[in-house]
Amino acid sequence: MLNARDQEAVRQEFAKIAGPVKLVVFSQELVAGDLCRQNETLVREVAALSDQISVEVLNPAIDRERAEAYGVSEVPAIAVEGARDYGIRFLGVPSGYEFSNLIDSIIVASTGEPALSEATKTSLAGLASDVEIKVFSTPT
């Protein structure tokens, strides 16, 4: 799915990777076969561009407990994990605009160092309750 130019651009970005990252792919052939295959192919192509990235595929119908632990019930989906599970998820194939966010999420998960102002980090450290942020987008 990635052409040579895309691969080279991603490889350059991946020079910033500072530690291991696991991409957990959620696929279910019977629910959304084509999209799940596209998603899995894309993730494997991305993972092939860095030896720090590993891939695991889960089927929410079979690996039910683990999928529930990730909070994933829809497919296709991806969880991006670094030193811990930071709670970063992608629902749907991250093509177009979301593709650059997937690459960025891999890098920030590997470093554990968010590119945020000190003031923002201080405020977030004081959060007293959980916040789930959903970001809806389209490929173009």
Binding site: I88, L91, E98, S105, V108, T120, I133, K134, F136, T138
Partner: protein, 74 residues
């Protein structure tokens, strides 16, 4: 999604979910997604379009706290 995922790394309390709206039409309908990007925090604070970091943070703090949502859109 960029700010959201960086905030997720910064705080164990924050999770960031990117949703491909065209692949999940029912979910998008239930959140009344008319324009993208649309951001929904804790199902109570929502807005359309990108916000600078300080305003995005303000929305996160609203979603976390007991204040009435400010950025509600129709």
């Amino acid at each position: 999604m960029r700010l959201a995922q960086h905030m997720a790394v910064a705080s164990e309390r924050v999770t960031a979910i990117a949703i491909e709206a065209t692949e999940f039409p029912e979910l998008s309908r239930s959140y009344r997604v008319m324009a993208v990007p649309k951001i929904v925090m804790n199902d109570r604070v929502e807005f359309e379009g990108a916000l600078p970091e300080p305003q995005f943070l303000e929305a996160v703090l609203q979603a976390a706290g007991g204040q009435a949502p400010l950025a509600e859109t129709k």
